[in-house]
Symmetry: C2
């Protein structure tokens, strides 16, 4: 399914170029393409529309003759601002000039509004330009925007996607859940309580107990995925300018939840047993850290499992500092060989740990069900913000999730999923051995989704990303998880099939070889 | 369903006070009640637990003897910080003192963390105190927090609730939708596209066309209710310090989406035909306004319907200014007598209007499905933030909503709902005539949910709110929608039944009479 799908109809009596100019005219006259919006370059339009260059040129010529678009030297082709052209009045597009540009509007806030078509120079709205660029919330990193868009492009092999392929998700079991629900008296159509539906919170409480976490339903807030949990904590508990410590690299570097709330990061190194605690106390004091974020089980992106001893050390050191911990338990259930040590929350004696969980990595990303476990005053504060943000998670999703957990579907699904992920992991490792020996090193993940590929020499990662896209591969490069990185890739064995890996990994190895030896 | 429901079991062999002290001990030892958290006053604990004062005193005495709680002069009873008591080290609760308090931590940012029990002095977490108070996002207004909590209290008559009662929601029809879905091949369990599922966007596009809005699916972003749409626009399009114009009073004053993003409000007056446009141009220039927010159809809270002429005037005046409009169309379908004039978006020729819609007011608040319609570059920017916020709306809700719209269920439901709301409105108006003549004036709403009651004399609204709660009534007072207001109430005929209104409205009239004539 592609987001942008209109193409002219070759069977129509109307010539292709006229179909195109009519379609564009509608877009412009309706305001969907506002004044000043830049059209994609002609070669890109050809690709989008599936027509040759002369057809595009004719269509644009018609629009230009109607005064709807105009070419500007160096500025591409833009939608004409008819009103401004008519009376010369100040347009709302000039707001920035009038009110002064925001200090941080440049630099790492580069905005890519995306054109739904690829990585070519993006369209930008003229009149809405300053609006699109000036909101408080940061845009996604350009690479992340590309990935979010390209994931809906057909035929790409997704080598780093952190989401189980549709075939690994329990479609049939969920159909049984829906059938069960449709036989119940009536589905809940009203708003749920601020903390989430009592039924789902009871079910989550039961799941947590299996991992050694004692949390009653009053300590649990249902969120729209663990990502929303991070967002709520970012805006709900931390003042601007505060610092959180975290593993480096980390998933947290790839999203902007905390940065958009004015929170700074201070990364700490890991070894194969997890976050190194020796520099933690010093760094916490130096930065007056407000919190430590950690993914102890099957870390994203490195796949590292923090062992039991390191977990206890971490609790001891942070306990001495009185430093709260945000534990991301997204991958905890997804062990492949043996269950991981108990989560940090299970070791927490003084309510110092907030624990995040989710169904997105195991049962269904689409359900958008996650949870935050923590002291009651904290989850109530976060629930209050959630009520202001979206008035709670979908009642239908909450109902299905509660049934999913309580009906035993989840446990059954996890067992099958682990067996299948084990096979996929082993196949991926065998392929790496075959194609990447001498080119990179990697870990053997005991759970989760990821293999962290460490290249033996640096490679320009953005260039690699583009070259891979041309070759039909979608990559999650290391710079998403550590801005300065130039020698890692996050590989995943949960989205691409083994057949796709067999095709994609040798291709990737070839591209890497080329980029480390330019000119050869 | 109450969020806080534990009470001791009178049938147990264990004495009530021991059950209570055991339960509290678990809460404290697990950290769910963190060090420094204040317990509710004894009379409130009696009410919560359904026991008499001596039982509570005995239970607290046991906990105190164990060193788990302590009474502080003027500070109530608090959970002891065992660690601090033991080694005197600086607790993370002291962070504020160390790093300096935030400038705006006081004043109108007063935090009520809520104790899940009523409106008495709230508990606050000791060690987490500064965290709970210092997040970027504002807490809800204390009255809104009370309302959000009290809506789950049994037996209260909700006179102002902006949500259809469960009996008005289409439970049976939604059950048929679920049954249909469970017979489909497989439910969508993966993430949806950034803009939302293509199927639902096509269905919404079809609905919009019925109201004269031509918007193809690329111009539509699916949100978790219209509230999330406001949130995304607040953080996505407006820099800190910008101003939006809006009707005063307005629903927007009752939430903190824009204020938390540093956006200021400038309220404009209305008459019975809607927003007055004569001061609009001057105010827009004076404040360098970035946007105008309006609810033209069945305004919340006043119920006013902007007529066609005023709509055109509004479009003309803002067009001359180049001022973008955010049109909230939440109540548009809910006309009772005749359909309203076309929405502002239908009059928009240059992509200047963002239009919000939702299923929450008609079909199901719990589904959490709304949409934003606007120029493509704008909805793409907002979609990018939505991906960072919660990774999209529930795929299950989106699937059900698409089927709901396309299967004709929605249209059928609306027709029935309108007939029932008409009856309820007329009954409410008759009751007002009977009980409020000479005490207040009110509008006759032609649609939507609300009657705006204008008291002939000012009344202390917070006092009225508390007195009403004691009498079993939950109110939406006018100060929620205009901070300076002291003579309005938002009444709703969609939650309380006519029988409840027959009981509640005379009670309310009595309370108002008392408060305007103190001492009588």
């Amino acid at each position: 399914m592609q987001a942008r799908s209109w193409t002219p109809d070759p069977a129509s009596a109307l010539p292709l170029h006229r179909q195109i100019s009519n379609y564009y005219m509608d877009k412009i006259r309706s305001g969907a393409w506002p004044p000043g919006m830049r059209l994609a370059p002609q070669r890109e339009l050809c690709r989008q529309l599936g027509v040759n260059r002369s057809t595009v040129v004719t269509a644009l010529g018609e629009l230009s003759a109607l005064g709807l678009i105009e070419g500007r030297r160096g500025g591409g082709t833009r939608v004409v601002d008819l009103r401004a052209a008519a009376d010369g009045s100040v347009s709302y597009g000039d707001r920035t000039a009038a009110s002064g540009s925001r200090a941080d509007a440049s630099g790492d806030r580069a905005v890519s509004t995306g054109d739904g078509t690829g990585m070519l120079p993006v369209q930008s709205a003229g009149s809405w330009n300053s609006y699109v660029e000036e909101g408080v919330h940061y845009p996604n990193l350009p690479t992340v925007q590309d990935i979010n868009r390209l994931e809906y492009e057909q035929g790409l092999i997704r080598l780093g996607t952190g989401e189980p392929s549709p075939g690994l998700l329990p479609g049939e079991a969920m159909t049984r859940v829906l059938a069960e629900l449709s036989r119940q008296t009536l589905p809940p159509l009203s708003y749920e309580e601020p903390l989430g539906s009592p039924g789902l919170r009871r079910a989550v409480s039961g799941e947590l107990a299996k991992n050694g976490i004692q949390a009653d339903p009053d300590s649990i807030l249902i969120t729209s995925g663990a990502l929303q949990g991070l967002q709520l904590i970012a805006v709900g508990l931390l003042p601007r300018g505060s610092t959180i410590l975290l593993e480096k690299p980390s998933y947290l570097y790839s999203i902007h939840a905390f940065q958009s709330a004015g929170v700074k990061f201070s990364g700490l190194p890991m070894d194969e047993h997890g976050l190194l605690t020796d520099r933690l106390a010093r760094e916490a004091c130096r930065t007056k850290a407000a919190m430590l974020y950690s993914i102890p089980s099957f870390h994203n992106p490195t796949g590292i499992l923090m062992d039991a001893q390191r977990r206890q050390e971490l609790m001891d050191v942070t306990g001495g500092l009185g430093l709260p911990i945000l534990e991301d338990g997204a991958y905890q259930e997804l062990w492949l060989d043996t269950p991981p040590p108990p989560p940090l929350k299970a070791l927490d004696r003084d309510g110092r740990v907030l624990h995040l969980g989710t169904l997105s990595k195991s049962a269904s990303p689409g359900l958008r069900i996650g949870w935050i476990v923590g002291p009651e005053p904290v989850v109530r504060r976060l629930a209050d913000i959630k009520m202001q943000t979206d008035y709670g998670a979908s009642s239908l999703s909450q109902l299905a999730a509660a049934r999913w957990l309580e009906g035993g579907y989840h446990e059954e699904h996890l067992q099958r999923l682990r067996a299948r992920l084990r096979q996929r992991r082993d196949a991926a490792l065998a392929l790496l051995q075959h194609h990447f020996a001498g080119l990179a090193a990697w870990n053997v993940p005991a759970g989760g989704f990821y293999i962290w590929l460490s290249l033996d020499k640096p490679v320009p990662l953005r260039t690699l990303f583009r070259a891979a896209h041309k070759a039909g591969l979608l990559l999650n490069t290391g710079d998403l998880y550590d801005r300065g990185d130039s020698r890692h890739l996050r590989l995943s064995y949960v989205y691409a099939s083994t057949t796709e890996l067999e095709h994609g990994l040798p291709l990737l190895a070839g591209l890497i070889r080329k980029l480390r030896q330019p000119g050869s």
